[in-house]
Assembly symmetry: C2
Homo-oligomer: 323 residues x 2
């Protein structure tokens, strides 16, 4: 029988868990509330209860090689949350490995940033199957990412690798809360796309298209999905927003291709619901921002894993690290 | 007795070779002419002769775990030179592993880009000792680099990882022969520094300093060393060139820190002969271009390995890959 592990995906409202083996999720994904507002210790208790359910139903803790946790923020090599998880008050400073080992008879645990660990899910089960080196861009509220080198998730010593949303792509560009200007996240995230649309509506010289009328009448209701509905209708303003987002993303993709020479760049997250139109535009712009010899050996593809990518990636991490 | 390997550093005029063990270079570095103009097969013959000398003096090929080669250009996973070595006509397409195995009774060989492999020398024997993840910038005629993740040299599937000289740091900046504009190499290489100095001398509003007079009188004799001699004399024009070079380099360093979260960024190459003045300025600018939490966990340091770094890195690669 093959190895199996527990994968845990910690979110702001729910914790998801499942048994993961070499074929992916075995059985069902189980959810429990995070209870984030009750503090770090309560969140950890809820994780332990979820592990208990999953191991109990799966032959006891001894049947698993370990537990992998995908968490917001950064995790140090010793299992302490170093920060960066603002939606989980009191989570910073929590030790996540020791309680699992204590409660489940020495069961081993590992952890990584939730977005970063998705890259491992894509490598093992999704768009990166069969290759060794990939870079994933997650285009959601922000832009996150993950890097796999030599077939293994590259976390960095302090769990901080993969902050590709803050690659600067425009000198003196849009100010970012991170303190820099011109971060790719300001343009290519769902938030960035919406902000560009609203900003364009406020400019005098923007042509009065159908899309622009909608944006002006209810700016608070604009989403990246709406932008791409009007891109499909060939609305010139929506297309201008789309092209700018993909130009900026293409620059960041180009930098990652030049520096990492990955076999694949995987584009995922909510923005990629728009699919091929984004993919083709990003390919066009990325090609202008890298060495041809490196670019032609890298494929840019759409992510294959859906909403359970986090659970899968976390479990895959435990399968990778533990025998 | 510990493992030992042969390290080979292929240059445009000379091939250097040495026996490498866990302590570094064992014995002396041996040199033979490259004879680059005689074509790829002659270069390969010269490498084989050098290996013969080194194994002959070191107990025969059977006493070595393998051969590591640092070469200009890119090497595919199968040992074929994929290109990028313009100073070695006919080197592209050469198979470098098989002839070594055939000539020396199955002796194994591995290869990497010469600049990339220096990163492994720094990790094992130099400025990166004791850590797992580093990024090296080599500031020479151009800007090259190397990445070590999880303690191993990250070559990429096609040996093309580490092209950090072509990170774009200025939107619409200086045109680069690579086809992009604003590559960090245009500013922070020795060539870039010289070009900025000469360019500044041609501008009307540049103050007429001692340095400027020297540049104007003999623009062809300007070197990055000269620039830093005048930086030491506090010449305002030389300082302006230096600050701009370090600002641009700091941006690229910031991108690598955000994306890789290395334990150390190692700055090497001829430009770093200037030492601390460059280091301190790069630290200042890099800090403005990354997340504070990631920046404060990364140390920016000067390379420790000297002219034999290439031989050491190549040998270290063989020690790493072969048992």
């Amino acid at each position: 029988m093959g190895k199996k592990a527990i994968g845990i995906d910690l979110g702001g409202t729910a914790i998801k868990g499942a048994v993961i083996d070499e074929n992916g999720i075995s059985g069902e994904v189980t959810r429990v509330p995070t209870e984030a507002q009750s503090g770090g210790q309560r969140v950890m208790e809820n994780i332990l209860s979820l592990i208990e359910k999953l191991t109990g139903a799966g032959g006891g803790a001894g049947a698993f090689v370990g537990v992998g946790i995908g968490t917001p923020g950064f995790v140090g090599a010793d299992g302490v949350i170093l920060g960066g998880a603002e939606n989980l008050p009191g989570w910073k400073g929590t030790q996540v490995y020791a309680p699992i080992s204590e409660r489940f008879g020495g069961l081993r645990a590992t952890a990584a940033n939730d977005v970063t660990s998705v890259a491992l899910a894509e490598l093992k089960y999704g768009a990166g199957r069969g290759v060794q080196n990939i870079v994933c861009f997650a285009l959601g509220t922000g832009v996150g990412g993950g890097i796999v080198t030599n077939g293994r998730l590259y976390k960095g010593t302090h769990g901080m690798a993969g902050e590709i949303g803050h690659i600067i792509v425009e000198t003196g560009g849009e100010p970012c809360p991170c303190g820099q200007c011109g971060c790719v996240e300001r343009y290519a995230s769902a938030t960035g796309i919406v902000n560009m649309a609203v900003g364009m509506a406020a400019q005098k010289d923007t042509p009065e298209t159908e899309f622009l009328k909608v944006v002006k009448s209810e700016p608070g209701a604009v989403t990246s999905k709406l932008v791409y509905e009007y891109v499909a209708k060939e609305d010139p303003v929506a297309i201008a927003v789309h092209e700018r987002a993909c130009d900026m993303l293409g620059r960041a993709v180009g930098i990652m291709i030049n520096t990492f020479s990955p076999d694949k760049v995987v584009l995922g997250g909510g923005v990629m619901m728009a699919g091929g139109v984004v993919l083709e535009a990003v390919k066009k712009y990325a090609a202008r921002h890298c060495w041809p010899a490196i670019y032609e050996r890298c494929e840019i593809v759409i992510a294959k894993m859906g909403e359970d990518a986090g659970v899968l990636g976390a479990g895959a991490l435990a399968l990778e690290e533990f025998d």
